[in-house]
């Protein structure tokens, strides 16, 4: 296409150089790195090109004015790597900074823990060590531990302080208290020439906990990077028309009152009003309705609809009151605030745990005082109780399982959006499906492909490659050899024709192919005709079920889950799908508010609902449900609401997600019990006043290693239906399908 491509939105300028980040598809091996970097560096004016293999992003710097960013994309396209401009989200940049901070804290804590342990081991083993040397070692430990603790403890202190200010308790409150008391008491003990100091326990505790936090954060960053690339691959472009020239611009750069050209087969890039042109639009991604809506001058169109037959010019409007998007956003606000009240397992455990521990410590103090011990000894014992119960294992119990589980989900093609999604996913008892684009494939397919002669179908499909009409695109998916036929000519509004081996082939309307009026198509389907050398065929194009929808529904039912279909499509279109899947509980023709009402009704019965949906009209329902999943083909707003997104054409990842989540929850509970058991064994020792620093250190690392090993069992048995291909390949397959 000869039209200009305007990527100014994605380019950053700094003293004469320009910079752009591109998400690159198809990077698979070491050779790709060199091939991509060297071919980009050969372009005039390029100063630096560096490919990050981990997140498949290419950063390019070039002298301003020497090069247009679209040349870069064209150059990459030439060597077979489609690239997409990429704008890092603010959240992603912030998370990268937070990650760096956590790793710094981890490094400081690790350095301190190792060096103090070196000194402590000398003290423990040197029974004949003179008091001066012991004091010297303790003072050295203090010199390392106090600044290191103040620095590396920040993530916990800050989080604990936030919780206390809102009058809540989280796991970081007992952690911070334990660390601060351990350091403070050790300092007093050192100053008074006592035998025991707990500097090693405090720093080791911080080190272990920071390991858990960092792992947790690294996993979340990885899934976010993948999601960011997918967003770039999916990003919509619009044809902006300023009266003289058509410019391709990213949809994100559109402003109100821009005039756009929407060709047949294009997606409407923004909400707006039709200025001229007559067409039919397919709003299945917006409302779930599979029948097309005729539009003409003055009609309101929504972002996400597909233009079907004629070219439209439209004007971009801001979302006005009364539009669908407006209603969706209003419902979203309500639904989102309702869900923020979920209390995570770790916080629930912390709320029970912290008061018990603090009460035990207080009772220990009182008990020893009554038993006649000195005030000093009583306080030391009480603090030892606090140190040994400091929830090292407890704080690792849940993050470690979460990291292992999100890794397992990642391999099955499920990308998590929300941190607590796994916990909520494990509690569900009802699954609600949307129909269009969720149970069915997002794009229509040829339904009667098996009844058509294979050679005829192949010719029709290869001819269809030359047209951008949505029906032709559906037919083109049947092509085994994806080579368009040369010399194909498109007749607007009629079809496409070409000469194949001396005979004319035509694909298009029935009249165009010389077929007399065919029986009217049933609702929700469209017919496209093909004629070649006197033979004709009518191809029926329809939304078809995802290939494994029947098995997935059966597998979910076998797990004892209740299944419901709530669709925005007409009841006539929903009935056959529900019948094929054997789901008796279904409703059609629902508006967004009615979907929410149905979910609320189930919630009042005490049910936990998993909502699986993709349409713009599903977004509020996804937010209202206990937990939600979206296919990667979903509308942007919808995807942002979903707790997790699944890749590919199969529905199987829904089962994987539920399976892994339930297993993860079992392991979280086991881990919590392991931590409680460890405390049950260690606390009596501490109450009796026998908790030497050696015992505290051994118990702490032992229990941490135990819960971490237990967490790894999430990945032991791979889910039976996991995707064979690696997520990145799957990602690209999904992206190229759209």
């Amino acid at each position: 296409m000869a039209e200009a491509l305007d990527l100014a939105l994605f380019v950053q300028h700094r003293d004469g150089t320009a910079h752009i980040d591109l998400a690159v598809e198809g990077v698979a091996c070491a050779a790709c790195i060199r091939k991509i970097e060297s071919s980009v560096k050969q372009l005039p004016g390029v100063l630096e090109a560096r490919l990050n293999f981990t997140n498949r992003r290419l950063a390019v710097d070039w002298r301003e004015d020497a090069l247009a960013p679209s040349d870069l994309i064209a150059a990459l396209d030439d060597i077979g790597y489609p690239a997409h401009p990429f704008q890092p989200e603010r959240a992603e940049t912030q998370e990268a900074q937070h990650m760096r901070w956590l790793v710094k804290c981890l490094a400081v804590a690790g350095f301190a823990a190792m060096n103090i342990m070196l000194l402590s081991v000398s003290v423990w083993s040197g029974t004949d060590m003179p008091q001066e040397t012991r004091d010297f070692f303790h003072w050295l430990s203090a010199l390392i531990a106090l600044p290191a603790g103040a620095y590396a403890g920040q993530p916990f202190f800050q989080s604990a302080w936030r919780a206390i200010r809102t009058r809540q308790l989280n796991m970081d409150v007992p952690i911070s208290l334990g660390v601060i008391l351990a350091l403070g008491m050790s300092l007093v003990e050192t100053a008074t020439h006592q035998h025991h100091a707990y500097f090693d326990s405090a720093t080791m505790l911080l080190f272990f906990l920071l390991c858990g936090r960092t792992l947790d954060h690294a996993m979340r960053r990885k899934t976010r990077a993948i999601a960011g690339n997918l967003a770039a691959l999916k990003a919509e472009f619009a044809h902006r028309f300023d009266g003289t020239e058509v410019v391709r611009v990213p949809a994100a750069a559109l402003r109100t009152d821009d005039r756009l050209l929407v060709r047949p087969g294009d997606r409407v890039p923004a909400d707006g009003v039709v200025l001229s042109g007559v067409s039919e639009i397919d709003e299945s991604l917006v409302t779930g309705e599979t029948a097309r809506r005729p539009v003409s001058t003055g009609a309101v169109v929504h972002a996400g609809a597909v233009n079907f037959s004629g070219t439209l010019t439209m004007r971009v409007t801001a979302t006005g009151a009364g539009t669908l998007l407006d209603e969706v956003e209003r419902l979203l606000d309500k639904a989102v605030t309702a869900r923020a009240r979920y209390v995570r397992l770790a916080d629930r455990a912390a709320r029970m745990y912290a008061p018990v521990v603090h009460a035990t410590a207080a009772l220990t103090l009182a008990g020893w005082l009554i038993a006649g011990a000195t005030i000093h000894d009583s306080i030391v014992t009480a603090i030892a109780v606090l140190i040994i119960t400091c929830p090292c294992a407890l704080a690792l119990a849940i993050p470690t399982v979460q990291v292992a589980a999100s890794g397992a989900l990642f391999r099955s093609g499920v990308i998590l959006n929300a941190g607590d999604a796994i916990e909520r996913l494990s509690e569900i008892d009802t699954v609600i499906f949307d129909k269009t684009g969720t149970l069915t494939l997002p794009e229509p397919r040829v339904a009667n492909a098996a009844e058509i002669a294979p050679d005829l179908l192949e010719r029709a499909a290869r001819l269809a490659l030359s047209s951008r009409h949505p029906l032709a695109v559906a037919v083109a998916r049947e092509a085994r050899e994806r080579v368009p036929i040369e010399g194909a000519a498109e007749e607007p509004g009629q079809g496409v024709r070409a000469m194949i081996a001396g005979s004319e082939a035509r694909l298009g309307s029935e009249a165009f192919c010389g077929i007399k009026q065919h029986a009217p198509a049933e609702s929700g389907t469209s017919a496209i005709a093909f004629s070649y050398a006197g033979r004709t065929a009518v191809l029926v194009v329809r939304q078809s079920l995802r290939p494994d929808a029947v098995e997935t529904v059966a597998a979910l039912r076998a797990r004892g889950l209740d299944l419901v279909i709530l669709s925005g499509d007409r009841p006539e279109a929903v009935r056959p799908i529900a019948a094929r899947l054997g789901i008796s509980d279904w409703r059609g023709g629902l508006k967004p508010a009615e979907k929410i009402a149905a979910i609320e009704a189930l919630k009042r019965e005490g049910r936990h609902v998993l909502m699986v949906g993709d349409g713009l009209n599903d977004a509020p329902a996804l937010a209202a449900a206990h937990v939600s999943l979206s296919p990667i083909s979903a509308a942007d707003i919808t995807q942002a609401q979903a707790d997790a997104v699944f890749l590919g054409e199969r529905l199987g990842p829904v089962v994987d997600a539920v399976t892994v989540a339930q297993r993860a929850r079992r392991l979280m509970q086991q881990n919590l019990w392991l931590a409680v058991l460890y405390n049950a064994a260690a606390v009596p020792v501490a109450i009796a006043g026998l908790a030497t620093p050696l015992i505290a250190a051994a118990a702490m690392s032992g229990s941490s290693i135990l819960v971490t090993l237990n967490a790894l069992r999430v990945r032991a048995r791979k889910p039976a239906r996991s995707v064979a291909a690696s997520p990145t390949d799957e990602t690209l397959a999904a992206a190229s399908a759209t």
Binding site: A30, S38, F53, T54, V103, T133
Partner: protein
Amino acid sequence: MNVLIYLVPMALGLGLTGLAAFLWSLRSGQYEDMDGAALRVLADDDVQ
């Protein structure tokens, strides 16, 4: 025990050097692309 007077500062100094080296490598972005570094070593464009 006088040996401690220079052994202990030496041990601490070495430890701090390691920590400083790690923080420097973190700041200079050496952990941004862990998988790429493993593959880049295979490319031999500097041998030509």
